[in-house]
């Protein structure tokens, strides 16, 4: 197992190193699908240049990174490439833990407890199948063209992904303190990981055998503890950022920017064209609607998936990546890395062929239609916008397909795999 993983690591590093040194690096770091105003490397360099000139980086509207990034890159700006190559490595570490610790354990418990109907044995995964999952997850992340592009463009999305991966790692290992601190750091970087608080909490409760019952005091005790760690670290990190530059300017520049979407640079998300064509009168209303859209799936999903917090984490990350205000392909790559962990759901997926075709076609069409609009002048913005719509539609279909497959597998695990109707013939399952 170690040998294939090392080989994979070497291949991934080689590809990235080759691309860093070629002329493609310049081209890729300008692509709007790969970088956004929030995480472009050009803007980080600009922010540091402004700091050298004696002007606060937040006085203009170019730099939207948190002070933590200023602090980090102030020292390592010359070694930036190495930093960006390390971050996928962290995600790769996660993959090992995700599968080896969690899934193995759960499967072992399931086999031992014998609580599943007999014909469901084929639904459960054998250790032999699961042996290759860490390799597959690592492969899915490290060799994903989206991740490679994001890394070569030196987009700070890679660093954000690393922090989220570390957070998931610590959660799965059971360390509530580290998990809270890392979640606070992830939230500090971009607000949306706030929704990951619920799945992390559910995971810990499940691990400590505390039932999720609002009337029980043990539930509230643990929740308050975890919330205290999380909010406390968030406050401490924000306070330290204040002391870095001596002002609260970064709050409207970073968080105000994420929420109010003033910059309409095209990207792969749904916000830019919508707000470019919005009637001024309704702008605030629709900003609120779109932002609430990201957050409000948390509670219903948590209720439905309270026994499956890891899948809930995957769902939340996917929803954030699709509906956030400035998505990039780096965000898409993060949740796609989880897909091999649920390779056993393959038999229940209904639209996987369609979805993969749509996503591949859209990924190929993005640069073509961008060129036609911006450089050739023979297409207009509607072409690029249409592909954006299709890409997001494909992603939504992918996520809901996996959700359907997961729920269906759970149903089969409790009710048996081959279901029969009342008259004995083979039945079909529908959602009612």
């Amino acid at each position: 197992m170690a040998a294939p993983l090392t080989l994979l690591l070497i291949v991934a590093v080689t590809i990235r190193a080759v691309l860093f040194r070629s002329s493609w690096a310049e081209l890729i770091s300008e692509r709007v699908e790969v970088v956004s105003p929030l995480n472009a490397w050009k803007r980080v360099v600009e922010g540091l240049a402004l700091l050298d000139l004696g002007v606060s980086p937040y006085s203009g509207d170019v730099f939207h990174e948190t002070p933590f990034m200023i602090y980090l890159f102030h020292f390592v700006v010359d070694y930036a490439e190495i930093v960006f190559m390390v971050s996928p490595g962290l995600v790769f570490c996660l993959s090992r833990f995700l599968t080896s610790l969690y899934l193995f354990r759960k499967q072992k418990y399931a086999l031992e407890s014998d609580r599943y109907p007999a014909d469901c044995l084929e639904l459960l995964r054998s250790p032999k199948e699961m042996f290759y999952i860490p390799l597959k997850v690592a492969m899915f992340y490290l060799l994903n063209p989206f991740t490679i592009l994001s890394c070569v463009a030196k987009s700070t999305c890679g660093l954000n992904n690393a922090i989220i991966a570390l957070f998931i790692l610590c959660t799965l290992k059971g360390s509530a303190l580290l998990s809270g601190i890392l979640l606070a750091l992830a939230t500090y970087q971009s607000i949306y990981p706030l929704t990951l608080f619920a799945p992390a909490l559910l995971f810990f409760l499940q691990r400590l055998y505390i039932p999720v019952n609002l009337r029980r005091s043990s539930f509230w005790f643990f929740t308050l503890q975890y919330a205290f760690i999380y909010v406390g670290s968030l406050v401490v990190i924000t306070g330290l950022s204040f002391f870095l530059l001596g002002s609260w300017d970064f709050i409207p520049s970073v968080y105000g920017f994420i929420f109010s979407v003033p910059d309409l640079t095209p990207n792969i998300g749904l916000f830019w064209y919508f707000f470019a064509e919005m009637f001024e009168h309704f702008r605030l209303f629709f900003i609120c609607v779109f932002q609430i859209n990201v957050f409000f799936y948390t509670i219903p999903l948590s209720i439905k998936l309270k026994e499956h917090p890891v899948f809930l984490i995957f769902m939340q990350i996917a929803i954030i990546s699709i509906f956030k205000s400035y998505p990039t392909v780096g965000d898409v790559a993060l949740y796609m890395a989880f897909l091999p962990a649920w390779s056993h759901l393959y038999r229940f997926l209904r639209n996987i062929f369609l979805v993969s075709c749509v996503l591949l076609a859209c990924s190929a069409l993005f640069p073509v239609l961008w060129h036609l609009w911006i450089y050739a002048g023979s297409a207009n913005s509607n072409f690029y916008y249409a592909i954006t719509l299709l890409f997001n539609f494909g992603q939504i279909l992918l996520v809901s397909d996996y959700f359907y497959a997961y729920l269906r597998r759970e149903h089969h695990l409790t009710h048996g795999l081959y279901l029969k109707k009342k008259d004995g013939t083979e039945a079909t399952l529908v959602l009612k």
């Binding site: 600009e46 000139l53 509207d61 064509e277 919005m278 509607n382 916008y385 939504i396 109707k421 009612k432």
Partner: protein, 571 residues
């Protein structure tokens, strides 16, 4: 004519009343002059200057000025209401070609330019600025109301006061330019109305709009500033200068012949001086020996813009200037080609790059002095929708890096203020310096585009200000009868003169959304969001059930009857 007589009568009355009441209205005087200079390219440059000097204090508390004579009341009221210390406004049509025409007496950028120094006592400078631009918009019939915070900057070093005053707090300075502004007769008429004699007598009779706008370059400006009355500066006065610079093209107006006359240029001749003027002169530049008729014995030499030139002077206050026909029509025939003094400082600007995503602004500054290096101050004001990346700023002279000794950069805030970049660059002798900076083009909201979005967006001219070393000693003496064209910019030392060069404005295209699509876009995007919502809603609220097919309608009705009868049901 009657109007003029009425004014004359009033003047005489005022003079007599002054003798009776010594503490009466302050003294004011009016001077007018016209400079005609043939240019080496065959074009002809005419520069009018009308100056009113008034011994009064607009900014004095409590004493409201109410008795206006030569100074226009509209401008006086503007000065006192907004506590303005200096006001410079210019309207220009066309671009001054420095390499072909030399340096102008009064430089101005294409479009409209307004810069104002407010008094230290003003508490809300932005509020005053906004109201001032609207009032001036009304006075000059120009769309100066488009000047707002998104195109106003506060230069820290480039626009020092031209009049008295040693305040250097640039919080009280505002500079704005509208490169898109068009100048036409509508702007000339109110400008002419501000003159004491209007356009009825004196040099202003030549200002006919059909001829003035049929030219390569037309610029009219108003400059108001406090000045010293004498060398020791014991008393101060307010100076109002109205300047009009026009360059007539050899081929369109001159029909290709290097022969010019006042009638050919302005379709009018001069008949009298303005009665309210203390001095009314016409200077014709004869340094390169053109043929001039009628000849005049009056000659004058002046050093202006580092060049010693000889002028023939026609004094319109003397009746013999007009000859027997009571009209003065100057005829100028341009012979041979002399050597034009190469302008020592020259600047150009252009946009490089392709596509609608990124671009590069290149500013090229030429130092044509053979052996002296001198520093220049470059000021760039770029609108917020072109996001400049200051880390890509490069300054190269003679293909080597030339680091500016002073950089003041204020980055733009989206929809609030533009970029301001000011740099002090040392130009090596006889060299070309190139300043490049990269930018990215933003996509704006569909309501923020002009009705013709594919025309492009204008970026105002860069301003290059410098003290250029002079080949000829400049005159630092202060005399009352200095020609007006040589006293516009105060000369502090003999060895250099102040020059301000404006570059071309830029026209930049931005990517545009489809303007016909707002409803469609809202519907389609909300559809995709709704698809996401719908799928998740279904999966969250519904459970899996075995699909029992429902009976057809006939069987269901039959079952209903069977239930009533108490008989076993159909399946």
């Amino acid at each position: 004519h009657t109007h003029l007589n009425y004014k004359l009568g009033l003047t005489l009355q005022n003079r007599t009343s002054e003798a009776l009441t010594p503490a009466a209205a302050a003294r004011d005087e009016f001077q007018e002059e016209l400079v005609i200079r043939p240019l080496h390219s065959g074009d002809i440059y005419a520069s009018f200057q009308f100056r009113t000097l008034w011994d009064t204090d607009f900014l004095q508390e409590g004493q409201k000025v109410s008795h206006y004579r030569l100074f226009p009341k509209s401008l006086g009221q503007v000065l006192s209401k907004f506590s303005v210390r200096e006001l410079h406004i210019s309207f220009t049509q066309g671009f001054w070609r420095t390499m072909q025409w030399g340096q102008p007496f009064i430089p101005s950028p294409p479009g409209a330019e307004l810069w104002v120094w407010f008094h230290d006592t003003v508490s809300d400078v932005d509020g005053n600025w906004k109201e001032l631009t609207n009032v001036l918009s009304g006075i000059f019939c120009a769309s100066l109301n488009f000047i707002d915070l998104t195109n106003t900057v506060q230069p820290s070093a480039s626009f020092k006061p031209l009049g008295l005053g040693n305040a250097t707090d640039h919080r009280f300075l505002r500079y704005a330019t509208l490169p898109r502004e068009i100048v036409c007769t509508e702007n000339l008429t109110p400008w002419k109305k501000l003159l004491p004699c209007g356009s009825k007598a004196g040099l202003a009779v030549l200002l006919k709009s059909e001829k003035l706008f049929h030219s390569s370059f037309h610029s009219q400006a108003v400059h108001i500033r406090p000045v010293c009355q004498d060398e020791q500066c014991t008393s101060k006065a307010w100076e109002l200068r109205q300047t009009l610079n026009v360059v007539f093209d050899l081929y369109t107006a001159g029909q290709g012949k290097k022969e010019w006359s006042l009638f050919k240029m302005f379709s009018r001749t001069l008949t009298e001086a303005c009665p309210l003027a203390t001095s009314s002169k016409v200077y014709v530049d004869i340094t390169d020996n053109p043929e001039l008729s009628p000849a005049t014995p009056l000659l004058s030499q002046a050093v202006v813009l580092g060049d010693r030139r000889t002028y023939s002077v026609f004094d319109l206050t003397r009746a013999e200037t007009f000859g027997q026909l009571r009209s003065l029509n100057l005829l100028l025939r341009w012979k041979g080609d002399g050597e034009m003094l190469r302008p020592l400082l020259h600047a150009e600007r252009y946009v490089a790059g392709f596509g609608l995503q990124t671009g590069e602004i290149h500013t090229v500054i030429y130092n044509n002095h053979p052996y002296r290096a001198f520093p220049v101050l470059l000021m760039d004001s770029v609108p917020w929708y072109l996001q400049l990346y200051i880390h890509t700023l490069t300054v190269t002279s003679k293909s080597r890096d030339n680091k500016p000794s002073y950089i003041h950069y204020q980055p733009a805030k989206d929809r609030h203020r533009p970029h301001l970049l000011e740099m002090l660059i040392q130009l090596p002798p006889h060299s070309m310096t190139e300043v490049t900076v990269q930018f990215e083009r933003a996509l704006l909201k569909w309501t923020e585009y002009t009705p013709d979005p594919n025309h492009g967006f204008y970026v105002g001219s860069s301003v290059v200000s410098a003290l250029v070393p002079s080949m000829v000693a400049m005159n630092t003496n202060f005399t009352q009868d200095q020609p007006l064209f040589s006293s516009f910019v105060p000369v502090k030392e003999e060895s250099s003169y102040f020059v301000r060069v404006y570059t071309e404005p830029l026209l930049v295209n931005l990517p545009t959304p489809d303007f016909s699509m707002p409803y469609n876009v809202i519907c389609l995007t909300c559809t995709v969001v709704a698809v996401g919502y719908g799928s998740f809603y279904n999966l969250l609220t519904r459970t899996f059930q075995v699909d029992e097919p429902s009976l057809p309608l006939a069987k269901r009705l039959a079952n209903l009857i069977r239930r009533i009868r108490g008989v076993p049901l159909l399946t």
